[in-house]
């Protein structure tokens, strides 16, 4: 736990976080032994069905919910013991406005700067830069209340960055946004990561996650069921099998020969997981039937997610249930 020198490149390290709500019969384990690591400039998409424990985990990382067991390090500091750790984190929380409704965008930026120990002048300067970067300069004098939902969300992200944190927590940042606003938020997330900030992002829009993330962690019933680089995970679930669609009827001889190659036939489709060269052998066996389609299966994050989340439920851990540690 007391590692000698924290790696400056690691923005977040969460180790075996556990959280149960309620007591006695109403006790409910929301998060079990979740560990996450994010490096500077990385985007980790944290995915899972509703109620899987994403928000709980995010709030434990931000010091807003105390874990029963496990620990969090933000750039080497524990937010539950060292308040200074909070200088390293910015958060846009789910279902919250995260902004002062009566203040204008620059006023919000300046106030939140003060709240996070940024000197006033610096907060104002950074505020201007952020407003420009986020395309909010024309709305300088409009109270947040009168901004569109998309602009409010952009501003909430800008405000979470005014103290230049090493880690940004985004819980459902594109929820309730129209397509265009979602796209802008996506582009911003990419820019923020490129500037070296680590990002932990939850979303139900798997296309957004696939486009943005370097890594994916999938959580289900409080447990991480997969954690890998995004492309590797998708690759793993893409079985690279060929699918062939044809017209007409196969003779029994053709059927046997195809089966002998290890392919499976269902009506007018063949699934074949062999090498690209032996594919030609198979295709020649189909002569002279007309071919309608030859394609290779490639999964996307949605396929991966659905497969992982629909698996039969993991066994209850046999370890004793966690108790609060103090």
């Amino acid at each position: 736990m007391n590692r000698p020198v924290p790696d400056p490149d690691i923005a977040l390290e969460a180790h075996q976080l556990c959280k149960a709500y309620g007591r006695g019969r109403r006790r409910f384990v929301a998060v079990r032994e979740v560990s996450l690591t994010i490096r500077a400039g990385q985007v980790l998409a944290f995915l899972g069905p509703n109620g899987a424990g994403k928000t709980t985990t995010i709030k434990m990382i931000g010091g807003l919910i105390r874990p029963d067991r496990g620990w969090v390090k933000l750039a080497g500091l524990d937010p539950h013991r060292q308040p200074m750790a909070l200088r390293q984190v910015g958060a846009v929380l789910e279902g919250n406005r995260n902004l002062y409704w009566r203040l204008t965008p620059p006023e919000n930026l300046e106030y939140f700067g003060a709240l996070r120990q940024v000197p006033r002048r610096l907060a104002r300067q950074r505020g201007q830069v952020l407003l420009e970067q986020f395309g909010l300069l024309e709305k300088q004098r409009t109270p947040v209340q009168k901004l569109s939902r998309g602009m409010q969300q952009k501003l909430a992200i800008a405000v979470a960055l005014v103290h230049q944190p090493k880690l940004l927590l985004l819980d459902e940042p594109t929820l309730g946004l129209d397509v265009e606003a979602s796209e802008t938020v996506k582009a911003l997330v990419r820019d923020i990561a490129a500037s070296g900030c680590a990002i932990l992002l939850t979303t139900h829009q798997l296309a957004v996650a696939e486009a943005l993330s370097d890594r994916v962690a999938i959580i289900r019933q409080g447990q991480i069921v997969a954690e890998q680089p995004t492309q590797a995970l998708i690759q793993q679930f893409s079985d690279s099998a060929y699918q062939i669609r044809f017209a007409g009827l196969l003779s029994d001889g053709q059927r046997d020969a195809i089966a002998a190659l290890g392919a499976t036939v269902t009506e007018n489709r063949i699934r074949y997981a062999g090498s690209p060269t032996s594919l030609y052998t198979l295709l020649s066996l189909l002569k002279p039937l007309p071919l309608l389609e030859v394609s290779q299966h490639r999964a996307d994050l949605t396929d991966v997610f659905l497969q992982l989340v629909r698996q039969p439920s993991p066994p209850e851990p046999s370890t004793p249930t966690p108790k609060p540690d103090d």
């Binding site: 959280k19 709500y21 709980t56 709030k59 931000g62 010091g63 807003l64 919910i65 105390r66 308040p83 200074m84 750790a85 909070l86 200088r87 984190v89 958060a91 929380l93 279902g95 919250n96 406005r97 995260n98 902004l99 002062y100 409704w101 009566r102 203040l103 006023e107 300046e110 106030y111 939140f112 700067g113 003060a114 709240l115 996070r116 120990q117 000197p119 006033r120 109270p143 609060p324």
Partner: protein, 257 residues
């Protein structure tokens, strides 16, 4: 910390000014109350709070009474408002820690309110030609009174964190405060007096009454008691609030789940 305080002043001020209808409403209420006080001062047999029957005493007593109520409710009201508007968790993300942020806020909103009240008072005094005296010796017991009041404010804030809905509690508390502040405890003797010295704000209000209504000098022994009382309740408030914060973080109810 100064930076935070400035930030809070600015935020409070802007939020206050941006909606003129509320400002005007507030100013009208305060002005009419004071105007009523000034007009009826000579007919009054003595205000509820029994600071004496001189105009100074009535006005100062009234101002104090409203300020104390305002302060005691301030942290809890602020917490509930922020929970509704969805900014509360952002406050708890501050490296300053929630107690310091809420203290800065309470000071800022008190500053705003005081400015408003004093401005209106000055205007009314200009119109009516009435004068009130504010003896400087009042400052010390005032500070200890405010300390204890802020302590209670944090206790109420702790209730708001744990129980979420505290409107009724605040209302009942207001009555308790009225009795507490009006009881002439400085006349009590023996164990009753010792007991009164342990109640929040009582030593300070007793001193204020002595100074204002009875024209007595500052009793330094009693002042020491008032200082101890103020510090004690302030510390108590901070401790209880810190405890409530930890409870809420344990239950995961900070944002108002």
């Amino acid at each position: 910390m100064i930076n935070l305080l400035m930030g809070e002043f600015k935020r409070t001020w802007i939020q206050f000014l941006r909606y003129p209808a509320e400002v005007i409403g507030g100013v009208i209420i305060i002005t009419s109350v004071f105007y009523g006080l000034f007009i009826s001062a000579q007919y009054m047999a003595g205000p509820a709070i029994a600071f004496g029957d001189r105009l100074d005493a009535i006005v100062v007593g009234y101002v104090l009474w409203t300020l104390v109520i305002f302060i005691v409710n301030d942290v809890a009201t602020n917490l509930q408002l922020e929970a509704q508007t969805g900014t509360l968790e952002q406050v708890f993300l501050s490296p300053f820690g929630a107690s310091r942020v809420f203290l800065a806020r309470a000071i800022a909103s008190l500053g705003l309110r005081l400015t408003l009240i004093l401005t209106i008072l000055l205007i009314i005094m200009g119109i009516t030609g009435s004068r009130i005296q504010f003896p400087l010796a009042l400052v010390l017991p005032l500070v200890t009174l405010l300390l204890a009041a802020y302590g209670l404010a944090f206790v109420m804030g702790a209730c708001a964190l744990i129980f979420k809905r505290v409107q009724q509690v605040l209302g009942i508390f207001q009555f308790a405060l009225l009795f507490l502040l009006a009881a002439p405890t400085e006349d009590w003797r023996g164990p009753a007096r010792a007991f009164a010295n342990g109640l929040p704000m009582i030593p300070s209000t007793g001193l204020l009454r002595d100074l204002m209504a009875r024209g007595a000098g500052l009793d330094w022994g009693q002042m020491g008691v008032a200082i101890a009382n103020g510090l004690l309740y302030f510390a108590l408030g901070m401790v209880v609030f810190g405890w409530a914060e930890r409870q809420a973080k344990r239950r995961g109810t900070l944002g108002g789940y």
